[in-house]
Point group: D2
Chain length 230, copies 4
């Protein structure tokens, strides 16, 4: 499988940038989408990526994003959803509007993006949809109910779509990122080397999965630092 | 634990009615809430329950529901969430508005109801919140992505709340109902006895769980017909 | 379902005794089996149970045990397997003979007992086989590989047998006991009430499961103290 | 991580050979071990591998195997366990000796091999132990209890060892191979391309996992054909 057109939605702590660089380095045209594109100028300059402002929870906005990407670089054959949102605290203290927003960004937006991706990929009978999950998607922690709801829902979407679309040639995969991701704002402590996930290392595993032979596809892969408790 | 005031939200194929009868038979005052209360008159006459019209996805409506129940029968010490919603079909064919509604009814409404319940129960340091899940909450089927998203999210909520509130004395439990439920509209085939879940039998398991000694609580219980494939 | 003849194999910290008392109180004839029956005299006097010495990892001994129970009280219609064994420590330090023994007691013995039980129950098209698992059966902890192997294997046996025998009328269930069990040797700390599982409380859940209506059977139930981290 | 010395235990339908070729092609010295080495001559000629006869369930034989590999090519820094065994049929029909053998080959042998591997790798603070599982390790099928017991136990071992040894620098990973593997004896049907796992494709995923950066390790990866039901 050779990919030509990538779309990465959401910018977390570095993973989207690592993926954009890896894709660009391998000759794949890249678009990145985020609510706020102000911070993406440098990445775009470096990788040749285009940045699109998009609220991933708005169906029309997501449809427009895909149309723009189609026009720029051809229909995307690899789409990554990295956006998420949460509100922390005991259930009794949460503002329902925040919870609704958290579920919308973490899960409903993923549905909208995956639906647009699927419409394009099913026509070709090929492509990859990669959904970035978290430990919160397999374990619901105390004081983290909104994140649990969003990430569990994302995992349900991924598993349902994997069952539905794999036999049609589209590879849907869910990644359980278990641990903090290293970034400029969150450096790795000197006394604990490699104790935070290196976003380039995560990107290597996404790259592997999107290139697996279709006789041996993974639908879910967990990654965590060697020293992480689990 | 002796319960005095029950609230059952959502009316599925019979489980809510079975619970209402079981609760009433054991001297618990019961309220039932649904979007449409037209069909609840007979059950209310039989059990002495009050019926309240309520859209469980509306924060203000849910707050109002609990206030009304408080006034009628005292703050509920056992609350059941039975509502769910789905839209079937391939991902590419779904209407985003339907998907949003499905997630809202199956999961966000459960959050709203559980939040109100928690506020009352944590004050007393006791109570039970019982969430009705489905196989779709542990396995995402093809052509069922909206149901998977809603029911996975519900399970994430339940697990997060169980971790958060069990040590404060509130028992949160999630039930995986794996199979069809027998009803007037869906009778058990003569040639396959007990091949659909009897709602009275499910209610017995809810009853057991809500009465477990706190040294041996279950947070999740699966129930399925003896002949169901799994 | 009315049970008449029970066999409980293995004596852990109190659960077997609680089950024996609960069964006897409800008119079920009880036999208990253990490698060493010296400590069972009091329980037998109290409950009318018979005690049999049996190495549950020896096929001939297990066959003999069932024959003796058949003769005493009729073929058992409810059989509980409580035996387990482990050796703790880092993988590199374990004696292979101890590991082999741990797997044999926790899992192979369960197979032998369940096989004999199944032969009797399938003839009647009814009965219950209840297997006592542990958190180690769903989570493999560090320095606990032998226990993980034994308890994972037990869970695999339980799930396979549930799929195989449920449609033939025999209820196979696996219990995940997550936490320490209160006993004379391990009393509940005063400052942490109900922080250890009460064996009578666990027994109540076994009792519920073995009496579930066959349209709504559980194959696995988890129990843990309200304050237990999970 | 650059590997120099590989040991592959057990020869299934092609995966061991694919791994041996992949390792040899990348400059890693390879030994393969099996109960019967008669069929390994061609592979050894092709890859320069040495073949050792070894019953992996015999502690002394496994210790001897590692000593021989140490002497030939240095202590192995990547060890794969591929052996498994089962006996099919309803629980009531199985011969206990066959069940015992199945558990021994699938799980106890893996322990013996992993223990020897761990002793060598922990000294270096590096290395990879790769355990080949099956769907039977996460789902216990009817009429397959011995395979469920062995493969569940293997998964418990893998998870326990991953928790124990990852923080010491040794990467332990479990692979859930979900589907049949293509071989000369089991060719892929023309009408269902890539419907059986290609052993070279599986080997690529093993290779990826053993080369993951330690900040982003997977402990378990599932692989299945695109068209496989799950």
């Amino acid at each position: 499988m050779t990919y030509r057109s990538a779309l990465i939605v959401g910018t977390g702590p570095g993973l989207s940038a690592s993926l954009a660089r890896l894709f660009a380095r391998n000759g794949i045209a890249v678009s990145v989408a985020a609510r706020n594109t102000a911070k993406l100028a440098e990445l775009c300059a470096e990788t040749g990526a285009a940045a699109f402002a998009c609220d991933s929870t708005d169906p029309a906005a997501v449809a427009g994003l895909f149309a723009a990407v189609d026009a720029r670089q051809g229909a995307p054959d690899v789409v990554v959803y990295n956006a998420s949102n949460r509100t922390r605290g005991p259930v009794v203290d949460l503002d329902p509007a925040d919870v609704q927003r958290a579920i919308a960004v973490s899960a409903f937006g993923a549905f909208l993006v995956a639906q647009q991706a699927a419409r394009r990929m099913l026509k070709e009978g090929t492509g990859a949809i990669l959904l970035s999950g978290a430990t919160a998607g397999v374990k619901g922690f105390a004081n983290s109910s909104s994140f649990a709801m969003g990430k569990f829902a994302l995992r349900g979407l991924a598993q349902s779509m994997a069952r539905e679309m794999s036999p049609q040639g589209v590879h849907v995969a869910h990644f359980v990122i278990d641990g903090g991701i290293r970034s400029a704002a969150r450096p790795v402590p000197n006394e604990a080397p490699d104790s935070l996930l290196d976003p380039d290392a995560i990107a290597e595993t996404y790259w592997h999965v999107m290139h697996q032979h279709r006789s041996a596809w993974s639908w879910e892969v967990e990654v965590r630092p060697w020293v992480e408790k689990f």
